[in-house]
Protein backbone atom coordinates (compact mmCIF):
# COMPACT_ATOMS: atom_id res chain seq x y z
CA UNK A 1 0.00 0.00 0.00
CA UNK A 2 1.83 3.01 -1.25
CA UNK A 3 -0.91 5.61 -1.05
CA UNK A 4 -2.58 6.54 2.19
CA UNK A 5 -6.00 4.94 2.47
CA UNK A 6 -8.93 7.05 3.67
CA UNK A 7 -12.21 5.49 4.73
CA UNK A 8 -15.29 6.15 6.81
CA UNK A 9 -15.35 2.47 7.78
CA UNK A 10 -14.01 1.14 11.06
CA UNK A 11 -12.40 -1.85 9.44
CA UNK A 12 -11.29 -2.56 5.92
CA UNK A 13 -12.31 -5.95 4.53
CA UNK A 14 -9.32 -8.18 3.92
CA UNK A 15 -6.96 -6.10 6.02
CA UNK A 16 -6.12 -6.11 9.71
CA UNK A 17 -5.12 -3.23 11.91
CA UNK A 18 -1.69 -3.91 13.34
CA UNK A 19 -1.21 -0.63 15.17
CA UNK A 20 -3.31 2.29 16.32
CA UNK A 21 -1.56 5.65 16.14
CA UNK A 22 -4.30 7.85 17.53
CA UNK A 23 -6.36 10.72 16.19
CA UNK A 24 -5.13 12.78 13.27
CA UNK A 25 -6.77 15.97 12.16
CA UNK A 26 -6.56 18.71 9.61
CA UNK A 27 -8.44 21.93 9.21
CA UNK A 28 -8.57 24.83 6.83
CA UNK A 29 -10.32 28.20 6.77
CA UNK A 30 -10.88 29.94 3.47
CA UNK A 31 -12.75 32.89 2.08
CA UNK A 32 -13.64 33.99 -1.42
CA UNK A 33 -12.78 37.43 -2.73
CA UNK A 34 -15.36 40.23 -2.57
CA UNK A 35 -16.49 39.78 -6.16
CA UNK A 36 -17.49 36.19 -5.56
CA UNK A 37 -19.29 37.16 -2.36
CA UNK A 38 -21.19 39.84 -4.24
CA UNK A 39 -22.20 37.41 -6.99
CA UNK A 40 -23.34 34.89 -4.40
CA UNK A 41 -25.37 37.61 -2.69
CA UNK A 42 -27.12 38.43 -5.95
CA UNK A 43 -27.72 34.76 -6.69
CA UNK A 44 -29.23 34.44 -3.25
CA UNK A 45 -32.07 36.75 -4.37
CA UNK A 46 -33.29 34.24 -6.94
CA UNK A 47 -32.30 31.06 -5.17
CA UNK A 48 -30.53 28.03 -6.53
CA UNK A 49 -27.04 26.60 -6.21
CA UNK A 50 -24.26 28.98 -5.26
CA UNK A 51 -21.48 27.46 -7.37
CA UNK A 52 -18.83 29.84 -6.06
CA UNK A 53 -19.42 28.68 -2.50
CA UNK A 54 -19.69 25.01 -3.48
CA UNK A 55 -16.27 25.35 -5.09
CA UNK A 56 -14.86 27.27 -2.15
CA UNK A 57 -15.92 24.61 0.33
CA UNK A 58 -14.67 21.82 -1.90
CA UNK A 59 -11.22 23.42 -2.06
CA UNK A 60 -11.28 23.96 1.69
CA UNK A 61 -12.20 20.33 2.26
CA UNK A 62 -9.47 19.06 -0.04
CA UNK A 63 -6.98 21.19 1.88
CA UNK A 64 -8.20 19.93 5.27
CA UNK A 65 -8.02 16.31 4.10
CA UNK A 66 -4.53 16.90 2.67
CA UNK A 67 -3.36 18.27 6.02
CA UNK A 68 -4.83 15.29 7.84
CA UNK A 69 -3.07 12.97 5.39
CA UNK A 70 0.22 14.78 5.95
CA UNK A 71 -0.12 14.36 9.70
CA UNK A 72 -0.95 10.67 9.34
CA UNK A 73 2.02 10.08 7.04
CA UNK A 74 4.32 11.92 9.44
CA UNK A 75 3.54 9.50 12.26
CA UNK A 76 3.95 6.47 10.01
CA UNK A 77 0.36 5.47 9.33
CA UNK A 78 -0.73 3.94 6.05
CA UNK A 79 -4.46 4.46 6.52
CA UNK A 80 -6.92 6.77 8.24
CA UNK A 81 -10.13 5.07 9.27
CA UNK A 82 -13.45 6.43 10.52
CA UNK A 83 -12.91 9.75 8.77
CA UNK A 84 -15.37 12.51 9.67
CA UNK A 85 -15.83 15.92 8.10
CA UNK A 86 -17.40 18.95 9.68
CA UNK A 87 -17.99 22.42 8.31
CA UNK A 88 -18.42 25.55 10.38
CA UNK A 89 -19.23 29.05 9.32
CA UNK A 90 -16.70 31.28 11.07
CA UNK A 91 -17.64 34.75 9.82
CA UNK A 92 -19.36 36.06 6.72
CA UNK A 93 -17.91 34.57 3.57
CA UNK A 94 -15.43 32.35 5.38
CA UNK A 95 -15.82 28.72 6.29
CA UNK A 96 -13.79 26.22 8.23
CA UNK A 97 -13.63 22.58 7.30
CA UNK A 98 -12.33 20.13 9.85
CA UNK A 99 -11.38 16.56 8.97
CA UNK A 100 -10.40 13.95 11.53
CA UNK A 101 -9.92 10.23 11.78
CA UNK A 102 -8.02 7.39 13.38
CA UNK A 103 -4.52 6.83 12.01
CA UNK A 104 -3.65 3.15 11.82
CA UNK A 105 -1.17 0.79 10.28
CA UNK A 106 -2.95 -1.76 8.13
CA UNK A 107 -1.57 -5.06 6.99
CA UNK A 108 -3.05 -7.10 4.18
CA UNK A 109 -4.53 -10.25 5.70
CA UNK A 110 -3.28 -13.51 4.21
CA UNK A 111 -5.93 -16.10 3.61
Amino acid sequence: MAKLLLSTLEAIPGATITKHLGLVQGSSVRAKHMGRDLMAGLKNMVGGELKGYTELLQETRDEAIARMEAEAEAIGANAVLNVRLSTASITSGAAEVFAYGAAVVLAQARS
Binding site: S7, L9, A11, P13, N44, G47, L50, S89
Partner: protein, 156 residues
Protein backbone atom coordinates in the same frame (compact mmCIF):
# COMPACT_ATOMS: atom_id res chain seq x y z
CA UNK B 1 -41.92 59.12 -1.84
CA UNK B 2 -38.86 57.45 -0.41
CA UNK B 3 -41.05 54.92 1.32
CA UNK B 4 -42.88 54.21 -1.92
CA UNK B 5 -39.61 53.52 -3.74
CA UNK B 6 -38.47 51.24 -0.94
CA UNK B 7 -41.77 49.37 -1.05
CA UNK B 8 -41.46 49.11 -4.84
CA UNK B 9 -37.97 47.61 -4.58
CA UNK B 10 -39.19 45.19 -1.93
CA UNK B 11 -42.16 44.13 -4.08
CA UNK B 12 -39.95 43.75 -7.16
CA UNK B 13 -37.46 41.60 -5.28
CA UNK B 14 -40.30 39.54 -3.87
CA UNK B 15 -41.77 38.97 -7.32
CA UNK B 16 -38.37 38.21 -8.85
CA UNK B 17 -37.60 35.81 -6.03
CA UNK B 18 -40.95 34.08 -6.39
CA UNK B 19 -40.79 33.67 -10.17
CA UNK B 20 -37.10 32.84 -10.59
CA UNK B 21 -36.97 30.84 -7.37
CA UNK B 22 -39.89 28.55 -8.11
CA UNK B 23 -38.67 28.05 -11.68
CA UNK B 24 -35.18 27.14 -10.44
CA UNK B 25 -36.67 24.78 -7.87
CA UNK B 26 -38.86 23.00 -10.43
CA UNK B 27 -35.91 22.55 -12.77
CA UNK B 28 -33.70 21.35 -9.96
CA UNK B 29 -36.25 18.78 -8.78
CA UNK B 30 -36.67 17.50 -12.35
CA UNK B 31 -32.91 17.13 -12.73
CA UNK B 32 -32.64 15.43 -9.32
CA UNK B 33 -35.35 12.89 -10.17
CA UNK B 34 -33.78 12.14 -13.54
CA UNK B 35 -30.29 11.59 -12.13
CA UNK B 36 -31.62 9.61 -9.17
CA UNK B 37 -33.25 7.19 -11.60
CA UNK B 38 -29.99 6.89 -13.55
CA UNK B 39 -27.90 6.24 -10.42
CA UNK B 40 -30.30 3.90 -8.65
CA UNK B 41 -27.90 0.97 -9.13
CA UNK B 42 -25.46 2.48 -6.64
CA UNK B 43 -26.55 1.50 -3.14
CA UNK B 44 -25.96 3.44 0.03
CA UNK B 45 -25.34 1.12 2.97
CA UNK B 46 -25.28 2.96 6.30
CA UNK B 47 -23.41 0.30 8.24
CA UNK B 48 -20.16 0.84 10.04
CA UNK B 49 -18.50 -2.39 9.00
CA UNK B 50 -18.58 -3.72 5.48
CA UNK B 51 -20.30 -7.14 5.36
CA UNK B 52 -17.54 -8.75 3.35
CA UNK B 53 -14.27 -10.45 4.16
CA UNK B 54 -12.71 -10.43 0.74
CA UNK B 55 -10.00 -7.85 0.12
CA UNK B 56 -11.04 -4.69 -1.64
CA UNK B 57 -9.79 -1.19 -2.17
CA UNK B 58 -11.49 1.43 0.00
CA UNK B 59 -11.93 4.89 -1.37
CA UNK B 60 -13.42 7.96 0.28
CA UNK B 61 -16.17 9.45 -1.90
CA UNK B 62 -17.71 12.79 -1.26
CA UNK B 63 -20.37 15.09 -2.67
CA UNK B 64 -21.21 18.61 -1.63
CA UNK B 65 -23.43 21.48 -2.62
CA UNK B 66 -24.33 24.96 -1.40
CA UNK B 67 -27.89 26.03 -2.10
CA UNK B 68 -29.41 29.41 -1.36
CA UNK B 69 -33.01 30.43 -0.78
CA UNK B 70 -34.66 33.09 -2.89
CA UNK B 71 -35.85 36.42 -1.52
CA UNK B 72 -39.52 35.43 -1.52
CA UNK B 73 -38.94 32.29 0.49
CA UNK B 74 -36.68 34.10 2.89
CA UNK B 75 -39.42 36.65 3.58
CA UNK B 76 -42.08 33.97 3.99
CA UNK B 77 -39.78 31.98 6.28
CA UNK B 78 -39.19 35.04 8.43
CA UNK B 79 -42.95 35.50 8.87
CA UNK B 80 -43.66 31.85 9.61
CA UNK B 81 -40.83 31.94 12.11
CA UNK B 82 -42.80 34.47 14.16
CA UNK B 83 -45.96 32.37 14.19
CA UNK B 84 -44.21 29.02 14.46
CA UNK B 85 -44.99 25.86 12.54
CA UNK B 86 -43.64 24.07 9.52
CA UNK B 87 -41.39 26.20 7.35
CA UNK B 88 -41.89 24.66 3.95
CA UNK B 89 -39.32 26.97 2.36
CA UNK B 90 -36.54 25.60 4.55
CA UNK B 91 -37.72 22.01 4.18
CA UNK B 92 -37.44 22.04 0.39
CA UNK B 93 -34.12 23.88 0.58
CA UNK B 94 -32.49 21.29 2.81
CA UNK B 95 -34.09 18.39 0.98
CA UNK B 96 -32.82 19.60 -2.39
CA UNK B 97 -29.35 20.16 -1.00
CA UNK B 98 -29.22 16.72 0.58
CA UNK B 99 -30.47 14.88 -2.48
CA UNK B 100 -28.04 16.81 -4.67
CA UNK B 101 -25.12 15.99 -2.35
CA UNK B 102 -26.05 12.29 -2.39
CA UNK B 103 -26.22 12.38 -6.18
CA UNK B 104 -22.79 13.97 -6.46
CA UNK B 105 -21.33 11.41 -4.09
CA UNK B 106 -22.92 8.63 -6.17
CA UNK B 107 -21.51 10.16 -9.35
CA UNK B 108 -18.10 10.21 -7.71
CA UNK B 109 -18.44 6.52 -6.77
CA UNK B 110 -19.77 5.61 -10.23
CA UNK B 111 -16.76 7.28 -11.87
CA UNK B 112 -14.47 5.08 -9.75
CA UNK B 113 -16.43 1.93 -10.58
CA UNK B 114 -17.98 1.38 -7.15
CA UNK B 115 -21.44 -0.10 -6.68
CA UNK B 116 -21.95 0.33 -2.93
CA UNK B 117 -21.14 3.18 -0.58
CA UNK B 118 -20.73 2.22 3.09
CA UNK B 119 -21.06 4.23 6.28
CA UNK B 120 -22.56 7.31 4.68
CA UNK B 121 -22.44 10.45 6.82
CA UNK B 122 -23.95 13.86 6.30
CA UNK B 123 -22.96 17.22 7.56
CA UNK B 124 -25.21 20.26 7.17
CA UNK B 125 -24.04 23.79 7.82
CA UNK B 126 -25.80 27.09 7.65
CA UNK B 127 -23.46 29.59 6.02
CA UNK B 128 -23.54 33.09 7.32
CA UNK B 129 -23.82 35.95 4.87
CA UNK B 130 -22.81 39.60 4.97
CA UNK B 131 -23.03 41.37 8.34
CA UNK B 132 -23.10 37.94 9.97
CA UNK B 133 -26.81 37.56 9.29
CA UNK B 134 -28.46 34.29 8.45
CA UNK B 135 -28.13 34.20 4.69
CA UNK B 136 -30.46 31.30 4.06
CA UNK B 137 -27.83 29.27 2.32
CA UNK B 138 -27.04 25.78 3.37
CA UNK B 139 -24.13 23.52 2.64
CA UNK B 140 -24.62 19.77 2.71
CA UNK B 141 -21.78 17.29 2.45
CA UNK B 142 -22.40 13.60 1.97
CA UNK B 143 -19.46 11.25 2.29
CA UNK B 144 -18.84 7.57 2.59
CA UNK B 145 -16.58 4.73 1.60
CA UNK B 146 -16.81 3.02 -1.76
CA UNK B 147 -15.35 -0.46 -1.83
CA UNK B 148 -13.76 -1.26 -5.15
CA UNK B 149 -12.83 -4.78 -6.19
CA UNK B 150 -9.11 -5.51 -6.47
CA UNK B 151 -7.78 -7.67 -9.22
CA UNK B 152 -6.40 -10.88 -7.70
CA UNK B 153 -3.17 -10.88 -9.69
CA UNK B 154 -2.47 -7.36 -8.41
CA UNK B 155 -2.82 -8.43 -4.75
CA UNK B 156 0.27 -8.96 -2.59
Amino acid sequence: MGLLIQLGIFAALLALGFLAGSRAERKHYASIREREAALRHILLVPVRRAPTRSPCRAQLVCGSVVIGMDYFKMTVAAFVNILGGRINAYETLVERARREAILRMKENAAALGGSHIFNVKFSTTNLRGQNNQQSGCVEVVAYGTALLPVRLEAGN
